[in-house]
């Protein structure tokens, strides 16, 4: 029968020649390729002496940002928790009382905010969902630990301090602030 698609190919079952049968030229050819690699430039990065550069949008440990006046940006709107495909984020909201205006930017804030780093898949959807530019992923690596409980990061590990602010300007290429 004719093939309808006309893409049918007949498998060839060609007899090997004598030179092919002794396999020597093929083996030597392979050895030559291996030998050539001795003179190539080495690709290995000698970690920890040498550290490879991160991409500007590397997705590592999260940070909860503060604004210029040191107030927390997060308002506990819960959009990061909705967006999170791994269900790693949880929070409890609280109302800001009088006298706390220097601590929190909006009238609602997260009194607890936890990310389970074992659940987190570092997809960055929380960062994308955040309407307040509060959560960002950074180029810091979540350190290993012997205890599982230690991987639930609370606000003490996530919120940046004013002394050691974490630079995320490289990541803000799509946000409103990044455009100017």
């Amino acid at each position: 029968m004719e093939s309808l698609s006309n893409r049918k190919q007949v498998v060839s079952k060609k007899e090997m020649t004598f030179m092919e049968k002794i396999y020597l030229p093929a083996i030597l050819g392979g050895m030559w390729i291996t030998f050539k690699h001795l003179f190539r430039k080495n690709n290995t990065t000698k970690y920890p002496e040498e550290v490879r550069e991160f991409a500007p949008v590397y997705r590592g440990q999260h940070v909860l940002k503060r604004d210029e006046q040191g107030r927390e940006n997060c308002t506990a709107c819960g959009l990061c928790a909705v967006a999170c495909p791994a269900e790693a984020i949880t929070m409890v909201a609280e109302e800001r009382v009088k006298g706390e205006e220097h601590l929190y930017r909006e009238e609602k804030y997260a009194s607890t905010y936890e990310i389970n780093m074992l659940r987190c898949i570092f997809c960055g959807l929380c960062e994308e969902a955040c309407p307040k530019e509060a959560i960002f992923l950074t180029d810091r690596i979540v350190p290993s630990n012997f205890e599982r409980g230690e991987f639930i990061y609370g606000k003490d590990q996530l919120v940046e301090t004013m002394e050691e602010r974490i630079d995320i300007t490289k990541r803000q290429h799509t946000g409103k602030r990044g455009k100017k």
């Binding site: 709107c77 819960g78 909705v82 609280e94 909006e106 309407p131 307040k132």
Partner: protein, 323 residues
């Protein structure tokens, strides 16, 4: 009976029906949005102008089109009237303008607002709103105040639809709050703060299309899309006792009346199912409620996220009741 054509769909309705109600009888896409009109409250409507429609033919006898767009909630139908809503470019453009006006003083605090996720202004803004604002003046701001010990008023968010005033007029024997001042300065307020103590005053939270009136017992407790709305009933001497309880695990976070897809309180046993303040604010104990089953949620609503529906469940059931 009069014949009207709305977006190429013909329907026969009672004389005196408004265009909006005729469209609601057709249902689906042709229904104009309404922020101030509330079918259960006589006298509402005609304030927000979001329900604008184009009348391409006034009536059978006088087929001239109406020169301006009309508010469909307060315009009665005529025999042979031809109305354009979704099919009219003018309506879409003008509604966008109305939304822009509504948003002039409305703060963009949806991440904080408890109404987010079930807010009609959010839906409108999503459909018609521009990405940026052209308004350069200061927005008017007020401090949130308590009206009564269970209700919080955020005057910033109010769009002055007057629904809460109408409900207080019609449900209670003595209205103690209303709209003060005029125009730009108008605001909802009570004569004396903390004066609201009627048994049904909590219903003003349900009729508020935005987050201006919110439940203090639910304030900032959770977000609506994390909760699971369940139909529940209880023995109540004051009201029908049929409500929706919003649960998180085995805990009741808040109680609301049962609302239909237009955000209006459904009829229960032939009467509008307003619920009393005891049911709304004080019965947060699961043992006091008889949980009937999950509330049907519109599949496209954010509230339905995380509530995984089986593909076998009836599609009609899922899309109908919009909570």
């Amino acid at each position: 009976m009069v014949k009207v054509t709305i977006d190429d769909v013909q329907i026969e309705v009672e004389p005196g029906t408004s265009i909006l109600n005729a469209a609601r009888q057709i249902g689906g896409e042709v229904v104009p949005p309404a922020m101030c009109y509330y079918s259960k409250l006589p006298g509402t409507g005609g304030k927000c102008r979001t329900c604008l429609v184009e009348v391409a033919q006034g009536s059978e006898k006088d087929p001239r089109p109406m020169p301006k767009l009309v508010a469909s909630c307060s315009t009665p139908v005529m025999d042979g009237m031809v109305v354009k809503n979704k099919t009219s470019e003018r309506v879409h453009e003008n509604r966008g303008g109305v939304v822009e006006f509504l948003l002039i003083n409305h703060p963009l605090d949806c991440p904080i607002c408890d109404q987010a996720g079930e807010c009609h202004l959010q839906d409108l803004g999503y459909e018609h709103g521009a990405a940026g604002t052209r308004y350069e003046e200061e927005r008017r701001t007020f401090d949130p105040i308590d009206i009564g010990n269970k209700i919080k008023l955020h005057m910033n968010r109010c769009i002055l639809c007057y629904r809460c005033v109408h409900i207080a007029n019609q449900l209670t024997d003595k209205r103690v709050h209303g709209v003060l001042h005029r125009g730009e300065h108008a605001e909802i307020s009570t004569y004396i703060e903390n004066a609201i103590d009627n048994d049904f005053s909590g219903n003003m939270i349900d009729v508020c299309p935005v987050g201006a009136l919110t439940d203090k017992t639910f304030r900032f407790k959770s977000r609506v899309w994390f909760l699971k709305p369940m139909e529940a009933s209880c023995e109540c001497t004051k009201c029908s006792g049929k409500a929706v309880v919003w649960m998180f695990g085995n805990e009741i976070y808040r109680v609301t009346a049962r609302k239909d897809k237009y955000g209006e309180v459904e009829d229960q046993d032939g009467k509008t199912g307003w619920i009393c303040n005891d049911c709304r604010f004080d019965k947060k104990d699961v043992s006091k409620w008889n949980i009937e089953g999950p509330r049907k949620i519109n599949r496209h609503s954010v509230i339905s996220q995380g509530q995984y529906l089986s593909p076998r469940s009836n599609a009609k059931q899922i899309t109908d009741g919009n909570q």
